[in-house]
Subunit: 244 residues, 2 copies
């Protein structure tokens, strides 16, 4: 039976980390809320999941259903899918490490989001623009390089070689790092290029993923939702200006 992915239908957001794993693996899945409303489909079905009676209904989407199993939280979904999609090593220690990498990407994603919404997700960007400029300055100056340099170090230290983050093969964490870096390049083109100039292994990992045949086909398809000023990674030029 096809996996059912529940996520907002108009933004890549956190759902995209799950989609990339499903697409890379060529898995059979339904992007539930992007289907027309109907029995088990559409936004209606997503609202029913979040407000319904499932004892394991998550706090927020993305959420995955696989038969009777309901899994929320992006990193937990990927931990669940990893072995099923062949996107994590079989070694238990490497599996745990892969999950930690994913959780660190999740932390970085929150910080990237909060550059444009430092006060409240319930307010418009325009109503917190001044504060966003302050938070973005800190993200550009300290947090973005801290995260990217740490992932570079993870690659350098991988005892199985410096090509992938964990073990000797690609994992869902590599796909998520690709998505995180893609988001940074969209939101902060100037600063991301500067920082990534010092992380050659992160760059090589991302370039390698982008040219994988099945993933390249996905990225060129209409299934790949574009970044925009409604998602996690938003390009507001003033948030990428040189630090004064």
């Amino acid at each position: 039976m096809a996996y059912q992915l529940y996520y907002w239908p108009t933004i890549p957001g956190r759902g995209e980390f799950v989609r990339l794993a499903l697409e890379y693996a060529g898995a059979d899945y339904v992007d539930v809320a992007r289907e027309p409303d109907g029995a088990g489909f559409g936004m209606q079905a997503m609202n029913e999941l979040l407000e319904g009676e499932d004892a394991h209904a998550p706090f927020a989407v993305p959420c995955l259903r696989d038969g009777d199993v309901t899994v929320g939280q992006t990193a937990a979904i990927l931990m669940y899918l990893g072995p099923r999609l062949g996107l994590v090593a079989s070694d238990e220690a490497i599996r745990l490490w892969t999950h930690q990498l994913q959780l660190t990407i999740a932390d970085a994603v929150v910080e990237a989001h909060d550059t444009h919404h430092p006060i409240s997700s319930n307010l418009y960007y325009e109503d917190q623009r001044t504060e966003a400029m302050q938070r973005a300055a800190d993200f550009r100056a300290t947090r973005m390089p801290l995260f990217l340099n740490w992932f570079e170090r993870v690659l350098v230290r991988n005892p199985a070689g410096g090509h992938w983050l964990a073990g000797s093969d690609i994992s869902y964490a590599d796909l998520s790092l690709f998505q995180f870096v893609s988001g940074l390049r969209y939101a902060f083109p100037r600063r991301a290029a500067q920082v990534l100039a010092d992380t050659p292994r992160v760059n090589a990992l991302c370039a390698s993923i982008a040219t994988h045949p099945r993933l390249a086909a996905y990225l060129a398809s209409a299934r790949r939702l574009p970044f925009s000023e409604e998602g996690i990674f938003r390009h507001y030029p003033e948030l990428d200006e040189p630090d004064s």
Copy 2:
């Protein structure tokens, strides 16, 4: 061999979520950075972990070492410890659900922290006090009730009874919810009391944990670090004022 917990020695912080599990279970552990500097102990040992050559050195503490295994990320540490400490169900579906609950608590903890540091963790609170008052107002009005009401709903819907979050016995997620609620009561005594008046099952869970003999002894001991204005949960009265 004793577990080795690495965390900042002067604040409860994220380390406390791990400590509570270890203490509740009566596990043998060393709080590494609270020991005097020496071979494998003290802040020196923690710095060596973070800056040293361990291929699985985490982005940040807390971090747990168990023999050859190094695990970072609070939720991953607790997922690792759960079965070893008898603090998670044996059923795989409930284990995954328990981990999701922990990840949701982790999300809530970030938001509680950012009420006093909405712009940058590299700046003093006093330098972002105005912005903190705005973010805290949103947290009090919308986010705190959203999270606590969701956990109440999880308790109500638990098919094994509404006493614990996942399954029929206490898990590490219950201990973490206790800590989260304790932090809210410290940081936002006025508003937390209001919201918790509507979440009787969350209250009962916390009260039950506080009276567990081994945990009560720990909470009364010097090992339990007090909340303060240096940690995640900080009491600044202006951040708990009634919404105007």
